[in-house]
């Protein structure tokens, strides 16, 4: 932050970095090859809803855009217990086409950003499941993208109580380090309990 911003007591809202998302398809391949993990085909975009008409207008626009994108893509919406809004994309889409999913997520983001709501973006979450558990099933492992930092981290919640498998997370972080920028500061590996992404 510049000295004048400190003196004037203001913060520039942090802008989202969207380009890093395109590194994902190669990370998907790495995860499948070395960890037998495949995307479930679902991804969630999490943002903080803002007040005002222009925001409602944007949300509507986003929905119609995704609908027009065509194909069997389904969109689900959810609001979590902290008041953050989730757009879950790709329910029922083809899990073997990760690039389409990444494009959809990028589309949602650019729509929000074009309207000036880039600062409202929190994170994107991609669901994964193990191929050893057989076909189908819901995600038990997530890749989280932090917009403001432009970094990724794995999130592995343990079933039942609010606990995470830190050992697996660290290992996956190392595995992915070549494909993606992994968040270095572990304090930013935010816990996201009860994710709506399956």
């Amino acid at each position: 932050m510049k000295i004048f911003d400190i003196l004037a007591g203001r913060t520039k809202p942090a802008q989202a970095d969207l380009e890093a998302l395109f590194g994902l398809p190669s990370a998907f391949i790495t995860l499948e090859a070395s960890e037998s993990l495949v995307p479930t085909g679902e991804a969630g975009v999490c943002y903080k809803p803002a007040a005002g008409q222009s925001f409602a207008h944007t949300a509507e626009e986003m929905e119609s855009l995704l609908g027009l994108g065509g194909g069997p893509t389904k969109v689900r919406e959810d609001t979590d217990q902290y008041g953050f809004h989730w757009v879950v994309i790709g329910a029922g889409s083809d899990p073997s086409d990760p690039e389409a999913l990444v494009n959809q997520v990028h589309l949602v983001n650019t729509t929000l950003e074009d309207q000036g709501f880039g600062p409202q973006l929190l994170c994107s979450v991609f669901g994964f499941r193990s191929t050893t558990a057989g076909a189908g099933g819901t995600a038990n492992l997530y890749l989280v993208y932090l917009y403001k930092r432009g970094t990724f981290y794995p999130f592995v919640p343990l079933p039942g109580r609010e606990q995470r498998d830190v050992a697996t997370e660290l290992r996956l972080g190392n595995v992915l380090a070549e494909d993606l920028k992994i968040e270095k500061d572990k304090a930013n590996w935010m816990a996201l309990w009860g994710l709506p992404v399956h």
């Binding site: 007591g9 600062p119 930013n188």
Partner: protein, 306 residues
């Protein structure tokens, strides 16, 4: 790329920078006068510097200790930590320590000299009274204080006040006790006059710097309201929280609030109520009306499409 929905509030910035400039001017005048007077200024400066350093480096611990705030871990307070986690991820700032004070007075404060050393403290009273969204708004306001380095800015700004206060006190003792120094001169009375003049001067400096620091504090509050509201995207929630907290504070007897009064500068809403416009001049926080008006304006500006 970096498009923001919000325009910079040039008026607020101008008022704040003007206040700082005036403060610096008073500072310069005081130092010049001290050098001309050839006073034993070194001792006073040394004492004031110690005050400043202690406040600067230990403000987090002092404030926490006086409010009996306890640092809580994510396991102890998962919801509070989750809200702070998300706000920090939204604002892209390092996560401060989180503390809870066992007090029924609804309030919150942020302290610490830098973003890394920052502590965010809320009372159990505010946790009980506010909805999660309103609590988030209050935390966004406090995080803005951290981002604006308000503890550092206000500590440095208060330095002159402390200095002038000390000079006033020392000169008062000098005038009361030390007519004796003048006896070696032919005329004792001119020296007394000089000391009286210096005393008056120091007192005036003290009053002016005090008023300016208070004005600066109010502008910093408005700036934190603004940034906090922009961060959560919903100014209305912060306004709701303000109304709830201020209303509740006003109803609590003053007796319970004595221990908290000294730390008004770090609070979300001050612990004592002000009545008249004269009191407003001395206030560390803007009036509720001024704060609500600013938030209403922000909310209105969000309705516009860019």
């Amino acid at each position: 790329m970096s498009r923001s929905k919000f325009q910079v509030d040039h008026g607020l910035t101008a008022r704040m920078v003007t206040t700082m400039f005036l403060l610096g001017l008073v500072y310069a005048v005081a130092v010049t006068a001290a050098i001309f007077a050839g006073a034993a200024i070194e001792l006073v400066v040394a004492i004031a510097a110690i005050f400043l350093i202690v406040q600067f480096f230990f403000s987090d611990r002092i404030a926490l200790w006086s409010m009996k705030g306890e640092i809580v871990t994510p396991e102890q307070s998962p919801q509070l930590h989750a809200i702070v986690d998300r706000l920090c991820a939204l604002a892209n700032m390092p996560k401060p320590k989180v503390a809870v004070a066992q007090s029924d007075m609804p309030n919150a404060f942020a302290t610490g000299r830098s973003q890394k050393a920052a502590v965010l403290c809320v009372t159990t009273g505010i946790l009980r009274r506010l909805s999660p969204e309103e609590l988030e708004a209050v935390l966004a306001h406090e995080l803005s204080h951290v981002a604006h380095r308000d503890v550092a800015v206000m500590t440095i700004a208060s330095f002159l006040g402390i200095l002038a206060g000390l000079v006033t006190r020392m000169l008062t003792w000098g005038v009361l006790l030390g007519g004796g120094r003048g006896r070696n001169n032919q005329g004792g009375s001119p020296l007394i006059l000089v000391e009286l003049a210096a005393l008056a001067f120091a007192a005036v400096i003290y009053v002016i710097s005090f008023l300016l620091v208070r004005a600066l504090s109010r502008y910093r509050e408005l700036a934190a309201d603004r940034s906090g509201a922009i961060l959560i995207g919903q100014p209305r929630l912060l306004a709701n929280a303000l109304v709830k907290v201020t209303g509740e504070i006003g109803r609590i007897p003053t007796r319970d609030l004595r221990s908290a009064q000294a730390f008004n500068a770090f609070f979300f809403a001050p612990a004592l109520t002000q009545g008249s416009s004269v009191a407003n001049l001395f206030a560390t926080h803007p009036t509720l009306e001024v704060r609500l008006e600013q938030l209403a304006k922000l909310e209105a500006s969000m309705g516009r499409t860019v």
